[in-house]
Symmetry: C2
Subunit: 711 residues, 2 copies
Amino acid sequence: MASLSSQALDAVKPHAKLAHADATSPTEWRAALEAANDAPAGFELVKTLVFKPKTAKSAVPVPVVVIAREETETNANAIGKKIGAKEMRLAAEDLLQEFFGLDKNSLTPLALNSETFSKTTVVLDASIATSTKPLALHAFTPRDTVFVKGSDLTSYIRGLETAETKVHEIDFTEPTTGVEAASAAAPAKKAQAEKEDAKIEGAVQVAIGVKKEVDFAGWYTNVLIKADMLDYYSVSGCYILKPWSYSIWEAIQEWFNAKIKELGVENAYFPMFVSQKVLEREKDHIEGFSPEVAWVTRAGQSDLEEPIAIRPTSETAMYPYYAKWIKSHRDLPLKLNQWNSVVRWEFKNPQPFLRTREFLWQEGHTAHLTKPEADKEVRDILDLYRRVYEELLAVPVIPGVKSEKEKFAGGLYTTTVEGFIPTTGRGIQGGTSHCLGQNFSRPEMFNIYVEDPTDPTGQAKTYVWQNSWGLSTRTIGVMVMVHGDNQGLVLPPRVASVQVIFVPCGITAKTSDTQRKEINDKCDELAAQLRKAGVRARSDLRDGYTPGWKFNEWEQKGVPLRLEIGPQDLAKQQTLSVRRDTGVKAPISLSDILTAVPKLLETIQTDMFTRAHKTYHEHIKTVGDWDGVVPALDSKNVVVIPWCEVEECEDDIKERSGRAAEPQDERAPSAGAKSLCIPFDQEQFGKLEPGTKCVACGRDAKRWTMFGRSY
Amino acid sequence: MASLSSQALDAVKPHAKLAHADATSPTEWRAALEAANDAPAGFELVKTLVFKPKTAKSAVPVPVVVIAREETETNANAIGKKIGAKEMRLAAEDLLQEFFGLDKNSLTPLALNSETFSKTTVVLDASIATSTKPLALHAFTPRDTVFVKGSDLTSYIRGLETAETKVHEIDFTEPTTGVEAASAAAPAKKAQAEKEDAKIEGAVQVAIGVKKEVDFAGWYTNVLIKADMLDYYSVSGCYILKPWSYSIWEAIQEWFNAKIKELGVENAYFPMFVSQKVLEREKDHIEGFSPEVAWVTRAGQSDLEEPIAIRPTSETAMYPYYAKWIKSHRDLPLKLNQWNSVVRWEFKNPQPFLRTREFLWQEGHTAHLTKPEADKEVRDILDLYRRVYEELLAVPVIPGVKSEKEKFAGGLYTTTVEGFIPTTGRGIQGGTSHCLGQNFSRPEMFNIYVEDPTDPTGQAKTYVWQNSWGLSTRTIGVMVMVHGDNQGLVLPPRVASVQVIFVPCGITAKTSDTQRKEINDKCDELAAQLRKAGVRARSDLRDGYTPGWKFNEWEQKGVPLRLEIGPQDLAKQQTLSVRRDTGVKAPISLSDILTAVPKLLETIQTDMFTRAHKTYHEHIKTVGDWDGVVPALDSKNVVVIPWCEVEECEDDIKERSGRAAEPQDERAPSAGAKSLCIPFDQEQFGKLEPGTKCVACGRDAKRWTMFGRSY
């Protein structure tokens, strides 16, 4: 591709400006370019999409390459009608590789040359030619961006035309019909107008810009940005947690801190730095982390004598001190926890909350005299993790134990709460509580022992039993993915920093100042009353924004309950409540408000959990034979199967479930399934009869095990 | 010294083992060696002290070099009597340099050779010869430690003897009298016995091992270790905050969070990493930090394309996003705060809590439309810092503004709360609230502006006014230094994680099991009652420890109130209360306990503050002429003087106050004084008459300014 790339670049070079920023979605791309600070002002993204129309089996497929402004809504059916292609679907990766040697994140109009042009149908967004903004194109990688003029890009593409093959230039701004979005007032008018321009036939305008069920990754980042939860940061893989998301973490901290303190756990703080020698003490453990460890090698202008690691987790940093502090069985149990950030410099695609290079978490590290005591704590903590998900975030999880392959490096066994993202049909690990056994305490490791109090000679040593357990800000990402919708975020009331928003309504040009003041004052007064009653209520009295614009904003931000107050409501001494989760509207009498609102918030909390729980369990398919596994996975389910618990079988399942899934389009998960957990509640799947065989390999099955594609 | 050092090392080499660990006090030395993990088991430290006896002015001084096991209490007067020297004082640094070319932290017996031996009187701890433990000596630097056998060390020293000059070998274990420490039972007996061995005539046994007024630095680290607040860590300059200190930080966090939220501040989290380009954007600012910035250059096995800094503070990391987020005056004020850790890789001697390479703090960053609004917030926050010190930690502070020389790099002005450590007579900066002005928002910097809402054309730009403010775990160190005594830590009740400790007493061999149970149950029951009433109470029912041992332990840990319950107390339905701060004992009727205890805790809190406040103000000397300045400083005061506020004058004061102070011994602060703050409350020092001249330079004085030697 090297010669091709230089040739294409040469064609647009006079006006090209290069910038660098990793990106896997348009939102990320834009944010990364902005964060990198070297993009020209007011740039626009250009997307390059490749569709595969329905083709007779014997025929060579002719891909349709669509080059359009990112904002342009490129409905596949509408395009298909224009150019006379049927059942256009986004092309699979192998097709992209075959035709362009690129993947979907590095596709660029510059990949079109005289050779590829003749084998494809090219559709060009007509508005590109007249665009006055710098247009951002990938330069053959998701990392490099080149900025060009619209006229230059059009000339380049047009320059490839031959007598036989012409470009299809489509005006995507042709009049269309569509469902109107919530009314938008002055500040949003311009953006709204631009969106209207981009609408095409059949498109449904949604507040969040991207539909959850169509482009889940794009929807996710859009929700995070539009709900003001997060911003991209100039160091790749790191993100800014804004107050709207950080407050959720604070709510989790407050609840969890109280619970672990009841269990006798105390908070402490260990340094973020770990010396190389200490870090590398436990071989299995460090093998799991070493490719991701960030190293400090310099301070000011001085090179350090030896590099110092930033903790990826703190087992090896803490345990030399456990060895020092634990002198007698009276020092047991030792139960410490810390709230901190850890760094795992992953080179895989980062994803906000789910996979970030620095993330916030708590890590608990405890030492016990006996295994039963350690075992009990592992489960007590796991149950707290379950409750964080289920009771605070309204996200159902399945508690269970990890397979040997999936357990924590260096530990004895790992327990987990496993969540599920219905839109993608993928499982997601929610939090893990590990029993480390005596692997870290044994003499050749950290040598943490006490004299056995039951030994009459007082000579016998007992090596302590250790646990470690961690829950991270990933919780927030899972919550967003499970509950968010096409209007934006949906917050469970218990973690919402604003639970109730009052919006004054029905104020028109005719409304008198007195009446306007009366309504505003009422909103403030009721919000204050509710706050006194322990409800996190706020009133939105901003001038210059219509109620509709405010509705939209608070819906995007996921506030659980909106209370509208207009002149008629005042007259009737009521307020109109609107639930974020269901959209259901109902009047509440002002005299009841202090009891009705907390009750309604609890109902919302419960309903959100109940719905999510139902959805999760509808997507857990108990499968008794291999033939059922892949179709179930392909239909966005996880499966529960009788399983032998043999590691090679797990590898084999991954292999077979990955290979078998021929993706219909790029969004269908085609990765192989791994074991998510062996659920503690085995009974829910029915009795596993003696002699039941493993669904995958035919060995004797041990337990029902949940497998799925996952994050 | 190179040849000398090799010669000395050669003499002990056959048994030598080298280890490396920075250390400036015995406690640090030991902890660092233990943390470094390559010291032989059960080693003991050897101290080398140099005294200067009273010498006729004309005579050449003959220093007394004392080589002893660290545990041996080497009372100068007692040694003087034995060898016939008078008024022995620890030698000043210049004497050490002159005789040995070493400072006090690198002094080693190995510095004695045939040349130096003849010019000094050498005293050798007799128990060294027979010690079976590996003995740790400095190897000419505070960093390198060599381990030798006691017999080898003795041989080496003895080998230097000549016919004229002999070693004085002293048996420090000779019977002595002394004040007994609190009675200690089984678990402490061995340590106690060892201490008894080391006691010499006139020595006062103190729980903490080192007297605050004699060796403040040693006392400080001993208190932190013995109170279980902190441990040394294998990365130099980093420390482990154990629950006993971290809980104080949590108390500060809880209080401060509530207060700033009332001011409309929201918590957020920005990444710990800052790209080089962003970090170096503000020149003045980065100049202040760049020698201390830690750089990550490698991840796993891959070198990063460009090094990434760990934040030393977050101004430059955050403000590019402030520029992005602040689009209109409606977005103002923007008030964010984060609780995080920052890294400043200082090469000066680290000191727990006061100067550490990583430390915990909060950093608030706000943006305002107008200067008056920013000014007001600077002072509001500073007042919260004052209240953290005064109301939570019972530590008095003086609020004021910093001089131009001492202000925050890159800011407009800095306000501060200045504390005072009476034992050393030094000031200490407690927390700072900066107005950054428009220095970071201006167009060539981060370009943070809004359209001026008062401008009718809507074209004028207003650059925002910014503040930043931070309070760190240094608070805890200051509290320890101000309140701690020779029994250990003294905690103000409001931040004590245990406010009240019940200790069962008067249980003897004759006590029946029923009676014992009754007493223990009563302790538990009362503690539970108090906890219900909001008092953090606990009962210490551990078997195998005497009441005296428990008293000692909880006193070391600084628990504000001890409540003793014995058979007679039970009979009288009372408990004996013992205040940690004053030692005052008083019975409390059990029927009053729920009201009396909270009241007494409040009294302790108030009394602690009142006493500390009185002491601080007794040590603030208003001085009207230069001749009074240095003597006042030398008597462990800070001074308040009429001052011109000219930077050269400040440099000059530092120079003159440093030079003038000829130290009597190593502990007298001889560093130059700097301006601590210009107190807001000027009236307390009387009216500054027009025409008053600067005490230092004779220019016109502007305001009363506090100067002092400082941390």
